[in-house]
């Protein structure tokens, strides 16, 4: 079943929202230039003020993006206009999302997938290699919980480079739990 909705299913919210609240981003020129528009999209998302709606114009339906933004509390509505996909993103219930993320950070509870990785039996710099490799295949909805002998301070700049952030919790002498998640844009 296509995610494209017919016009009469358009949410009331979008019908009534003021037109100056809708920020338009056409990524087709970026795509035809051979670039990945992901970072521009995320920049546009983070530039949104409260109550703003992002209107993304694309040549195809960006299904993975729905998941990424859903994690940040965005809902979407998609309509097809000829060859153009018009996708609206707007944010709902952010406080809950914040709370969920905080809980995950503390390693106490999670409604996200937690993938665990134990690097305590590895000699440096194997832990770093294993973690970075694992992150390249980390599903969008998942976080990585690493069991480490120390706080991996040399890893942090590399996480930053790749759009991740980490929280290290010292459990005991020589035992740290490091939670790595995608950075909120």
């Amino acid at each position: 079943m296509s995610e494209t909705n017919s016009k009469d299913l358009k949410p009331e919210f979008l019908k009534t929202v003021a037109s100056e609240k809708i920020k338009e981003l056409d990524v087709r020129p970026i795509l035809s230039g051979g670039q990945d528009p992901f970072s521009q999209i995320m920049a546009a998302v983070s530039a949104l003020s409260e109550g703003d709606v992002l209107l993304l114009i694309n040549t195809f339906e960006p299904l993975p993006l729905y998941k990424v933004l859903a994690r940040q509390g965005f809902e979407h509505y998609t309509e097809l206009d000829g060859d153009e996909y018009h996708i609206y993103f707007w944010q709902t219930e952010t406080p809950e999302q914040e709370k969920a993320k905080d809980l995950v950070k503390k390693g106490e509870t999670s409604d996200q997938v937690v993938i665990e990785l134990d690097v305590r039996e590895l000699e440096p710099p194997e832990p770093m290699i294993k973690i970075l490799e694992k992150l390249t295949t980390l599903p969008e909805c998942a976080v990585l919980l690493v069991h480490h002998h120390r706080e991996p301070v040399m890893l942090y700049p590399k996480l930053e480079e790749n759009g991740f952030e980490a929280t290290a919790n010292r459990i005991a002498e020589n035992y740290y739990k490091v939670l790595i998640s995608r950075k909120k844009q």
């Binding site: 039996e121 970075l132 002998h149 706080e151 301070v153 040399m154 700049p157 980490a166």
Partner: protein, 420 residues
């Protein structure tokens, strides 16, 4: 569970800053070995001899301390989990320190005791103050310094005292004002440098790196604190007795330093005994040999302290060779074979993990030739010590020829890693 911290920025300075120190140090080591070879007959004389002073300072400042500065800028932030206070200070220190070292070595070599010697000594003191300030400011935000942090802080304090004493001695060379024997202060200056500055850093860093690389955990740590206090007490003792005839306090202090070294070696063996990784790689081999040499050096040092060393010709120089080459150069080479491949790999390849194939760490180093260097340096250090004590010029020539060969292998291996 302690509160988590979100960290993202870089803790250590950029690789170019650290590598500047490393490359200069490696160059100094090769240069030192070459000069020793060309002037092997020079050092068979008295140790208070200008050219020997020059060689000593090329070794202690150009090679050993240079590499320790670079390594500390890299390691202190990692060990303390706090970012380095200032990269620019570290860079400024490099130029001031290198100029001071070159000036001092030149002045000793030609025995120029004029303004250039004074300026060089002042530059070195300025560099040391910048270093101490940078490390102090890095440590300041750390809520509670762990034992390694306290070792490093002690090392830096003893470095400051060593540099200050060196400045006083260099002024005394130009315009004598010290009323007591210059040699006594020279002795103290050397021991504060080797037992205070270098050994404290070596011990503190060993506590972190050896378990990290051998995956040793949950070992008893009971020696770390007694070593710290014994060593510091011993050093304070020899500082207080530096100007007098040898007395009871001096002998007790020397013994305390000896006991501290023995306890340190016991601590290291406890760490090695609990290691999970049984394979002994090049870096660990170097370190293990160097720790044994540290013990032998300490025994020789106690002998020099208790016997009247001036009766045995060249004993002091042989002791110096043992400290510089047998103990410290081996340890440093071994640590370099661990640290440099990692830093080069981190600088060049860590951003590519998962995106393209990157070399394994063990592909970054030529273990066989590194271990050949270990053997050559070991043989040449003992060779030089015996040749000096038994006054064999041929033996000294062969030993220093071997040492130069060892230095060249080290240079070749380091270039190999840097270009990987």
């Amino acid at each position: 569970m302690s509160a988590g911290s979100i960290a993202s920025s870089s803790y250590s300075p950029p690789f170019r800053v650290v590598s500047k120190y490393f490359i200069t140090a490696i160059g100094s080591f090769v240069f030192l070995a070459l000069v020793l070879l060309l002037h092997y007959d020079v050092i068979t004389g008295h140790h208070f001899q200008p050219k020997v002073l020059a060689l000593n300072h090329i070794a202690a400042l150009g090679w050993i301390s240079m590499i320790i500065f670079g390594a500390m800028f890299q390691l202190v932030p990692v060990v303390l989990e706090a970012p380095l206070y200032s990269t620019r200070l570290a860079e400024a220190q490099y130029w001031i320190y290198t100029a001071g070292t070159a000036g001092l070595a030149y002045c000793f070599w030609v025995f120029d005791t004029g303004w250039l010697l004074l300026v060089s000594a002042l530059l070195l003191n300025l560099a040391v103050i910048l270093f101490a300030f940078n490390i102090y400011m890095t440590m300041k935000p750390v809520p509670r310094l762990d034992i390694t942090g306290r070792y490093l802080a002690s090392g830096v304090l003893w470095l400051c005292l060593t540099a200050l004493l060196g400045l006083l001695l260099s002024i005394n060379l130009g315009s004598p004002y010290l009323t007591v024997d210059h040699l006594r202060y020279l002795n103290l200056h050397a021991h504060l440098g080797f037992a205070g500055w270098i050994s404290f850093v070596v011990m503190g860093v060993s506590y972190k790196l050896i378990p990290m690389f051998t995956l040793s955990h949950d070992y008893p740590v009971r020696m770390k604190t007694p070593v710290f206090w014994c060593m510091n007490a011993g050093l304070v003792g020899i500082t207080l007795t530096g100007h007098t005839e040898r007395n009871l306090l001096f002998y007790i202090s020397a013994l305390l330093i000896g006991v501290a070294v023995v306890m340190f070696l016991i601590q290291i063996s406890l760490i090695l005994k609990h290691r999970v990784r049984r394979r002994v790689d090049t870096g660990i081999k170097y370190s293990a040999v160097a720790y044994l040499m540290m013990g032998l050096t300490m025994i020789l040092g106690l002998f020099v302290a208790f016997a009247d060393a001036e009766d045995i010709p060249n004993l002091t120089i042989a002791y110096g060779v043992m400290i510089l080459f047998g103990y410290i150069s081996l340890l440093i080479s071994g640590q370099m074979y661990k640290i440099v491949p990692f830093l080069v790999w981190y600088d060049k390849y860590s951003s590519k993990v998962g995106k393209e194939s990157v070399p394994l760490l063990k592909e970054m180093i030529n273990e066989k030739s590194a271990e050949t260097q270990l053997l050559i340096l070991l043989v040449s250090s003992f060779g030089a010590v015996f040749s000096l004590i038994f006054r064999s010029e041929t033996g000294a020539l062969i030993s220093f020829l071997l040492m130069f060969a060892g230095a060249l292998i080290f240079l070749y291996n380091m270039i190999y890693i840097f270009r990987k």
